[in-house]
């Protein structure tokens, strides 16, 4: 049932030259969504708005007007992006019916270049999870095996790309939420340097690690989308300046000779399944054969990264979710008699279990008497992890490892044990804590399920990392 799209740059060229109509592309995308409904990747389509925008673009081209770099290209946004034309829910009951009064900066930038948002993808509610099973609505199915999860939290976006519901999708990555579903479902997932993309208009999870990134069929496609959305924005005080050079991969040079790549020792030992290890080792062999200088490097403190993350993330979540109080937007309990009851009932009825769990843990670790032992200690171990990455990047251009310890697990397998679910992030969270860019690349299959290879670079080396990823992708084919 899945369809494959041309490279994004070629689609846009064909639209600009009049060879294909934008309206036809949007219809093709909407049909693919309809035909693949059983995977439950999509929460809502934006049919009316998308078709209207597409015919406007077609009309502009017919009049000979200049149009953007992504003209007529359909895409899908994770439902934690504020987009006009439908509810923005973050897959949560508490935001059911919420109509965005403004759009995310990333969405505006894509629209300025002519891209068209056709649908909103499913996620774990508020992006809390690694499987989409925490969605308050439904669980998305893995495109390769519908008894398995697609990964999460950007599981709907990953499944959308793999099934070809649109040429690319947007995701968010706070502890691995772009890379892990990319690995489980089999697409490219890019987590840029912290601050590289404005988060204005994206529902906040853990603000000290949240980033936005593209999910696509190739590194080239991902690099083009990233080039469009990257840059400083006064609406996000943490966004950083970008260099004037384009991030888009422009050549097909696959030479990796002399590049120094470090294999993260800790990721190849702790709880890594044999089948994933095999795929990663094959990838390493191919890079070696092509002339990359590969050696092992130890970052002992990444073993503590998950514990650091599961203190800092809930702490920030508990703060960010305090705005959902039933008074300003979203679900509000109509029967409450007092304001305090309205808060408690609206939040108690509107939040799912995982959001509640994180609010409780987060408030606990921030509370007086526990703050020093938990939160401050976690922030300090975070420094230790960052220092080890700095050290590693002194001797290596890039780091390499698996994305996740296993392939996609069965629906229901980990949903009863929150701690087991958290372990899915064990190889991805360190990059978030350090704010460095990291990418998941399809590296092969184990028992017919996709396996992702993770490549990482120092902060702000996004272009270099995308180039290496593009070369590696070529070598792995």
């Amino acid at each position: 049932m899945s369809i494959s799209w041309q490279p994004i740059a070629e689609i846009a060229e064909d639209v600009k030259s009049g060879k294909i109509k934008s309206v036809d592309l949007v219809n093709q995308s909407l049909k693919a969504i309809e035909d693949n409904k059983q995977f439950q990747a999509i929460i809502v389509t934006l049919k009316e708005n998308a078709l209207k925008r597409a015919s406007e673009i077609d009309a502009r081209i017919a009049r000979g007007e200049k149009v953007g770099r992504l003209s007529g290209v359909p895409f899908i946004a994770k439902d934690n992006f504020l987009v006009f034309g439908a509810d923005t829910t973050a897959a949560s009951n508490i935001l059911k019916g919420f109509q965005a009064p403004y759009q995310a900066t990333a969405i505006n930038k894509l629209e300025t270049e002519g891209a068209i948002c056709v649908a909103k993808a499913n996620l774990d509610a508020f992006a809390h999870g690694a499987s989409t099973e925490n969605s308050d609505f439904f669980t998305t199915k893995n495109p390769h095996d519908d008894t398995r999860v697609p990964g999460g939290s950007s599981g709907g976006s990953a499944t959308s790309v793999v099934l070809g519901l649109a040429p690319f999708a947007l995701g968010t990555d706070t502890g691995g939420s772009i890379r892990q579903p990319a690995s489980f479902s089999g697409c490219v997932g890019y987590k840029p340097t912290y601050g590289a993309v404005s988060r204005s208009g994206v529902i906040a999870m853990a603000s000290s690690t949240d980033v936005i990134g593209p999910m696509a069929s190739s590194v080239k496609d991902a690099s083009l989308v990233f080039d469009v959305i990257a840059g400083k924005d006064e609406l996000d005080g943490t966004s950083i300046d970008r260099s004037s050079k384009s991030f888009e991969i422009s050549d097909n040079n696959l030479n990796v000779e002399g590049l120094k790549i470090g294999i993260v020792k800790e990721y190849m030992s702790d709880g890594l399944s044999d089948e994933v290890r095999q795929v990663i080792e094959n990838s390493i062999e191919k890079l070696k054969k092509a002339g990359a200088e590969i050696s092992e490097v130890s970052l002992p403190s990444v073993r503590n990264a998950l514990a650091v993350y599961y203190i800092l993330c809930p702490a920030e979540v508990s703060s960010n979710l305090s705005r959902y109080d039933g008074q300003r937007y979203g679900y509000s309990d109509k029967n409450a008699k007092t304001l305090n009851d309205s808060y408690k009932n609206s939040r108690g009825q509107g939040f799912g279990k995982e959001a509640k769990r994180r609010i409780m843990i987060g408030t606990y670790v921030l509370s007086s008497g526990y703050y020093e032992a938990y939160y401050k200690q976690a922030q300090t171990v975070r420094t230790k992890i960052i220092n080890e990455f700095h050290q590693a990047f002194k001797n290596h251009d890039f780091l390499l490892g698996p994305v996740a310890p296993t392939t996609a697990f069965k629906i229901g397998e980990n949903s009863k044990d929150p701690l087991q679910m958290y372990l899915s992030d064990v190889m991805t969270v360190a990059a978030n804590l350090a704010g460095i860019p990291a990418i998941s690349l399809p590296a092969g299959h184990a028992n017919e399920l996709p396996v992702g290879l993770q490549l990482m670079a120092a902060q702000k080396k996004d272009r270099e990392l995308l180039e290496l990823a593009h070369k590696t992708e070529g070598l792995l084919k």
Binding site: S301, S318, A434
Partner: protein
């Protein structure tokens, strides 16, 4: 092993304004203890001489001019999601019993 008691969970729930069911209180008492148990491994990490990290890309004090800018958002759109309102105001339930 840090053991959260049922009273701790109820107290936390009150602080964060979450009305929990009895089942949730029981579940969370067990689960939150297990999560705290796991993250307590950090107590053994030697962090002497290190400062906590609050911001990873080195930004400090990002400010903007103290000027009103509506960024093109209309008041009407911003108010359209209010559960209850009166004129330009958010209407809430009474605060005292």
């Amino acid at each position: 092993m840090s053991k959260l008691k049922k009273e701790d969970v109820l107290n936390l729930a009150e602080l964060v304004r979450l009305d929990l069911t009895d089942d949730e209180v029981n579940e969370f008492t067990e689960e939150l203890s297990a999560i705290l148990d796991y993250v307590e491994q950090l107590g053994d990490v030697d962090v002497s001489g290190l400062e906590p990290t609050n911001q990873v890309t080195g930004l400090t004090n990002v400010t903007r001019k103290d000027e009103i800018n509506d960024y093109g958002y209309s008041l009407e759109d911003l108010q359209s999601n209010l559960p209850d309102s009166k004129g330009n105001l958010i209407k809430v339930k009474r605060m005292l019993n």
